[in-house]
């Protein structure tokens, strides 16, 4: 967990490790992730945010809706393995 507070810029929303591409169709989606986060943080519903970003297919939409950052869990294990 060390270093978490020192990070600059946007608040820690777990905004990394988001899949680069949609698992099903292979379209690149990660470049829209931060914009999606900003829209969610400004109070929009996921539906509005995804519609505005132009993510039409439900395979790509579920990538956004079901993503959960696990970097905090990984940071706890740092040094324990390898």
């Amino acid at each position: 967990m060390e270093g978490e507070q020192e990070r600059e810029g946007r608040p820690h929303t777990g905004d990394q490790m988001f899949p680069v591409r949609c698992f099903t169709c292979g379209a690149v989606i990660a470049h829209k992730w931060e914009e999606y986060q900003d829209k969610i943080n400004s109070g929009k519903s996921p539906k509005e945010a995804l519609d505005e970003l132009g993510i039409k297919r439900y395979c790509c939409r579920r990538m956004f809706l079901t993503y959960k950052s696990i970097i905090k869990e990984l940071s706890r294990l740092q040094g324990a393995v390898g």
Binding site: G3, G9, A27, A30, L74
Partner: protein, 265 residues
Amino acid sequence: MKIEIIDEDEFNIRFILYDAPIAFANSFRRAMKSLVPVMAVDYIDVYLNSSYLFDEILAHRIGLIPIKTDLSRFNMQNECVCGGEGCPSCQISFRLNVEGPKVVYSGDFVSDDEEIKPVYDNIPIVELFKGQQLMIEAVARLGIGKEHSKFQPVSICAYKIVPEIKIKENCNDCKACVEACPRNVLDSKDSKDGKIIVKDVLNCSLCMECVKVCEEIAIEITETNNYLFTVEGIGQLPIKEVMTKALEILKSKAEEMNKLIEEIV
């Protein structure tokens, strides 16, 4: 055979392929998806990685980043003059040297060549915390979709048959078919004297609901030799270049086949 483009923008295109055998439509689709070469990172040297992610996860994420490709300047590695060893005309390397705290983006890669760079600059790769460091050299090369899906120039690439919908004269305008159609292909509002017309034939999915519901058997749906293609590019190549390149590859494959047959006969 003729191609008519219905609508297109930077990454998407819809077109109709007229008067083609269905085998050709399918091989065209398959050629676009799996035979057109594009660039992707295929090999990385990790000099230093103290991030929370393993080298292999980083390699996988970097590999999936689409890279702008210039097909006239690069050869496939197995056809290159260097014999597959790697030279400036078949591969290109990117360097990444960053220190946390920072989110590493695809735009942080320094390319050897200004024109060959990631399509998107803002794909997050990994988050570095204080004191973490990353030193990577990534080598990109040309490859085809058959080998790995990161080399695919298109994500969605599909076709469907454009049907011919005939409404015969014994239609009694009961409008049961208009209600049965799940895709609003049929309509009776726009025509005079309430006759049922085909409004949007491209939207038809050949579900045959209208035929089933029609008591007079007045609707007839037949398949034609026209195909509606929907193609969505990823961005390494312009979508029209993908199409022409796929057709070129198909042609060269057909010519090779011709040669083989002539040898036998």
